[in-house]
């Protein structure tokens, strides 16, 4: 193991220098190494991105820098130099002065990092009073000024609020205000936008960019999202299983990766324009190593397409790989020659969906009692053809999951009609005919809770096969289990395990197999990949595309990720506050003219290569409260193309632009195509 020689003398040039950091956690008597010889440094005023999938040790780095490591964590080796001080050797008194003053952190979930029983004002002023010794009125004034800097409207009012009275975006702004209150030299951002919706995420990221010009803090930006890091950071480090496998300037690194893992990650993210029938997504074979996994050679060797015997025996040191680039790969020169997955695409049996499978008419669902009503779904009318994939896009609270639950019967509908394969679906799931249940199944969002943890995989599949097939013998059912497992590429040895012993991707395969047990005609997929890591997501999407093509099954595919939806969907419906505001063929929806909301969603999507986008469309203001819907067009409170009174007063009509492409807006298509620049021009 090569530990770089400490460069203590050079720390005046570095805002933060991490040298050979190794951290392990003690768990149930075992020591699990989560960080292994991690070294990098951040220059003053620089934003350094740390990317990696779950369990790679990103947060442990952040916690080690702040010295907030969990009690069962142990630093095995290394130094963290901050302003000539080794943080790992600092006294509690020194740390207390540094934290919140010279260095500050913004956490993933703003809702839980603010104290719910204190007003926001009290929490921000505390920073000024403790670290700056301000008096109470001085601190209040400073807090209001700082909130204004984070572009919160009406700071004086916000100061008197409690955290739960603020939206997620506002909460995160408050967190930034607190972090920046003392003008720190180092700002650690640990997935600051992960729990937020895409449009809010875009706003917060814009804010970070603006704040960077105002405050000269160095930033350690931690994220699993390559697009965000590419946009926000000058330099990037890629973590895999506790090792920093690659490092370099972000643009260069993402365009010319020098480690097979980085390349794999970049290739497996679906982007708008990639379609299931052009070619399958690239995916990284195998799965993330379990926590604390220590390989004899390179940690990535088992999944690496260019691994050679040497990789399995020797740990590759951090090798220079070009200008300011480092890679822990012996053969980093060969990375650019790794061929993309060229296997043939799933062949769809024609794109014709003449027969209507699902017909929804004026579906309404509202919750609440006599005194108040919250509309979750309003007047949704959708048709879905046999063998077709309809993507359903929208932010949280848009009603897309409720719609799916209405269709399968997990939620009772308030008004409207659902016809499926000629039959009227009125009754809840428990009362439906066996035949209907066989034809319609669902894949859930969270594979951890979608499978019963007490049952083995075989038992789960056997129960599904037994219930969804009529009068089969025990032997036939066992045969069915094997063919289902093979179809979702589970190995026979997985069948006798309980779900808790499986990785997230394998669990989702089991859930998919269960949904396909009765040869369904329609499968509702409710964010089936949002809980999975990107490297696993690609494999699951390929599997879904394969099954769809071979079984001629229709999907209602719900996702907040436009890239995922555009890869799989034939048609796309966009929902906002319970209404479908745009519906049409996938390609048309992603190109202007389209609904201003769709435009904003697309613009908010961070992509690795889209960093020099011309114009950004941003939504302003929070999502309206669904118990008090805006009048007229529901989107008018946040619309970037707001016209005036007409939007506020009158409900917009459906406008048609091209065949089967409808959107709900007062602006006619000709006008929209004039004002909307042609983003995502090529497919």
């Amino acid at each position: 193991m090569s530990t770089p020689t400490p460069i203590i003398g050079g720390s005046d040039r570095q805002a933060l220098a991490i040298q050979g950091l190794s951290v392990s956690y003690l768990r149930r008597g075992k020591s699990l190494k989560v960080l292994n010889d991690v070294s990098f440094s951040i220059k003053p005023g620089e934003a350094y991105g740390l990317v990696g999938e779950s369990g790679c040790g990103k947060t442990t780095v952040a916690m080690a820098v702040m010295r907030y490591l969990a009690p069962n964590a142990r630093v095995d080796a290394g130094h963290i130099l901050f302003q000539e001080l080794d943080l790992l050797a600092a006294s509690p008194e020194q740390l207390r002065k540094l934290r919140g003053d010279r260095m500050a952190m913004v956490y993933q979930d703003p809702g839980s990092s603010l104290n719910p029983s204190l007003t926001v004002g009290r929490q921000i002023t505390e920073v000024y009073r403790f670290h700056r010794g301000f008096s109470k009125p001085e601190a209040t004034e400073a807090a209001a000024t700082m909130l204004e800097t984070t572009q919160i409207s009406d700071p004086a009012r916000i100061l008197r609020r409690y955290p739960h009275e603020l939206s997620g975006g506002q909460q995160q702004r408050v967190m930034f205000a607190m972090a920046l209150a003392t003008n720190p030299d180092l700002l650690v951002l640990d997935e600051p936008t992960t729990g937020l919706d895409t449009t809010v995420e875009a706003e917060v990221l814009d804010l970070v960019s603006q704040l960077r010009t105002k405050f000269n803090a160095s930033i350690l930006f931690i994220s699993h999202n390559l697009g965000i890091v590419a946009r926000m950071c000058e330099r990037v480090g890629v973590l895999y299983a506790g090792r920093l496998v690659e490092e370099g300037p972000s643009r260069d690194l993402f365009s010319h990766p020098k480690h097979p893992y980085t390349l794999g990650l970049l290739r497996c993210v679906p982007r708008p324009g990639m379609r299931k029938n052009s070619r399958p997504l690239d995916s990284i074979p195998g799965s993330l190593p379990p926590l604390g996994f220590e390989a004899q050679g390179c940690v990535y060797a088992v999944r690496c397409p260019i691994a050679r015997p040497r990789c399995r025996q020797e740990v590759p040191p951090s090798l220079p790989a070009g200008d300011q680039r480092n890679s822990r790969c012996f053969y980093h020169d060969g990375v650019s020659q790794i061929p993309a997955n060229t296997s043939a695409a799933a062949t769809t049996s024609g794109e014709t969906h003449q027969r209507t499978l699902l017909h929804i008419e004026n579906l309404n669902k509202s919750y609440g009692g006599r005194d108040y009503q919250v509309a979750a779904v309003t007047d949704v009318s959708i048709e879905l053809g046999a063998g077709e994939v309809l993507g359903l896009v929208g932010e949280s609270g848009s009603g897309k999951s409720t719609l799916a639950k209405c269709i399968v019967g997990l939620v009772e509908i308030s008004q409207g009609k659902i016809r499926f394969d000629g039959a009227n679906l009125a009754e809840p799931a428990d009362w439906r005919e066996m035949d209907l249940r066989r034809k319609m199944q669902m894949v859930f969002q969270n594979p951890d809770t979608a499978l019963n943890p007490s049952h083995s995989v075989r038992r789960i599949l056997r129960r599904a096969a037994k219930l969804l097939s009529k009068g089969q013998t025990a032997a036939e059912i066992e045969g069915r289990i094997s063919s289902l497992a093979a179809a979702v590429r589970l190995r026979p040895q997985h069948l006798d395990l309980r779900p808790t012993a499986l990785s997230g991707g394998l669990k989702q395969r089991v859930a998919i197999a269960r949904a396909f047990a009765g040869s369904p005609a329609l499968v509702l997929c409710d964010e089936p990949t949002s809980a999975l890591d990107v490297s696993v997501q690609a494999a699951i999407l390929n599997l879904l595309a394969d099954l769809q093509a071979s079984q001629y099954v229709a999907y209602l595919f719900i996702s907040h990720d436009l890239g995922v939806v555009s890869y799989l969907a034939d048609r796309i419906a966009v929902m906002y506050l319970g209404q479908v505001i745009e519906i049409g063929p996938a390609a048309d929806v992603f190109h202007p003219p389209h609904h201003p909301y769709t435009e904003a969603l697309l613009s908010a999507m961070p992509t690795v290569e889209g960093s020099d986008e011309t114009e950004r469309i941003r939504l302003t203001g929070p999502l309206p409260n669904p118990s008090n819907m805006p009048s007229g067009c529901r989107f008018h409170t946040r619309c970037p193309r707001f016209l005036g009174e007409v939007c506020r007063l009158r409900e917009p009509p459906w406008q048609q632009s091209g065949e089967g492409h409808l959107y709900r807006c007062h602006i006619p298509p000709e006008e929209l195509s004039r004002i909307q620049p042609g983003r995502q021009a090529k497919s």
Partner: protein, 299 residues
């Protein structure tokens, strides 16, 4: 109809080694090992096992017949012949203390079983189906919980009349609402999980979902509840005996012995002291087991 048989294995990101993942759940073996590492649990278990062995094999261990009356040696202080002394009828207190475990350790577990079965049934049904039944049953449960446990037990016992079977029945009934509330709370969490929705979509019956899907996943809170209830059951049974509403003479039952020996507390405190101490160690042991179990399950 037929699914593609493993069309392009290896090309498509097969996760071949998802096995051996760090799982949130432990295997049975690991669970028992963790229990053995818990000092609280082990200490409680040792005392509890002692009393269980004693309750079964007391006829082989007792130095004298616990019911043999010897008028010549009444109310003798502890001595080498009678380690715990003798009572007002000249019976050996040590023998009676050892023999007294049997009635307590029959009544309490049986009553606990009854209460847990009743509570699990009620809790599962109202928790899974909710609706108006849930509202009604839970309001009844709340009102029952408003009364001190012992008052209801005394009330019912004086109606039914004292007998071992009635003691079991009464404690079981009184415990049902407590267990039902715990089980219901656990069911409310589980029923929102997606595996329950998936089971409904497959067309499983409500009974299947409750007993096969949900019940195994709430076994942890039920196990803790059982141990806690057992402690209370021992205490309640002893109290009923003490009030002469439970087991009758000449049984060496601890509660009964304490009640009868009370009259001689001033001159022969050992007649009360030893059965009381025995009762205390048993209750403490059960509570230690309950605490240890809860800590390990919540880890």
């Amino acid at each position: 109809m037929d699914l593609p048989e493993n069309a392009k294995e290896g090309m498509d990101g097969v996760e071949d080694d998802g096995v051996g993942w760090e799982s949130g759940r432990r295997g049975t073996k690991e669970f028992f090992l963790a229990l053995l590492h818990s000092k609280t649990f082990v200490a409680g278990a040792i005392i509890l096992v002692f009393w269980i062995v004693d309750a079964i094999f007391w006829p082989l261990i007792v130095p004298q017949d616990p019911e043999a009356i010897t008028p010549e040696i009444t109310l003798r202080a502890p001595s080498w012949a009678h380690l715990f002394g003798t009572d007002d009828l000249g019976r050996d207190v040590l023998s009676r203390t050892l023999a007294g475990a049997a009635s307590t350790l029959t009544v309490a577990p049986a009553a606990t079983c009854l209460g847990v079965i009743g509570g699990v049934l009620v809790g599962l049904f109202v928790g899974y189906y909710r609706g108006i039944a849930d509202d009604i049953v839970m309001r009844i449960v709340d009102s029952l919980l408003a009364f001190p446990l012992i008052i209801i037990a005394v009330l019912v016992m004086s109606i039914l009349g004292p007998s071992v079977a009635n003691v079991i029945l009464v404690i079981g009934i009184v415990f049902t609402p407590y267990v039902a509330r715990t089980v219901r709370a656990a069911v409310l969490v589980e029923r929102e999980r997606e595996y329950v929705a998936a089971a409904r979509l497959l067309g499983n019956s409500g009974l299947y979902i409750m007993f096969v899907e949900i019940l195994p996943n709430i076994s942890a809170p039920i196990a803790v509840e059982i141990t806690i209830r057992l402690g209370y059951a021992i205490f309640t049974a002893a109290t009923l005996s003490f009030l002469a509403l439970g087991i009758q003479q000449p049984s060496p039952d601890w509660g009964l012995t304490i009640s009868l020996g009370r009259a001689f507390l001033q001159i022969a405190p050992w007649e009360v002291l030893f059965p009381a101490a025995a009762l205390a160690t048993l209750i403490v042991a059960v509570n230690l087991v309950a605490d240890g179990l809860r800590q390990v399950l919540e880890e």
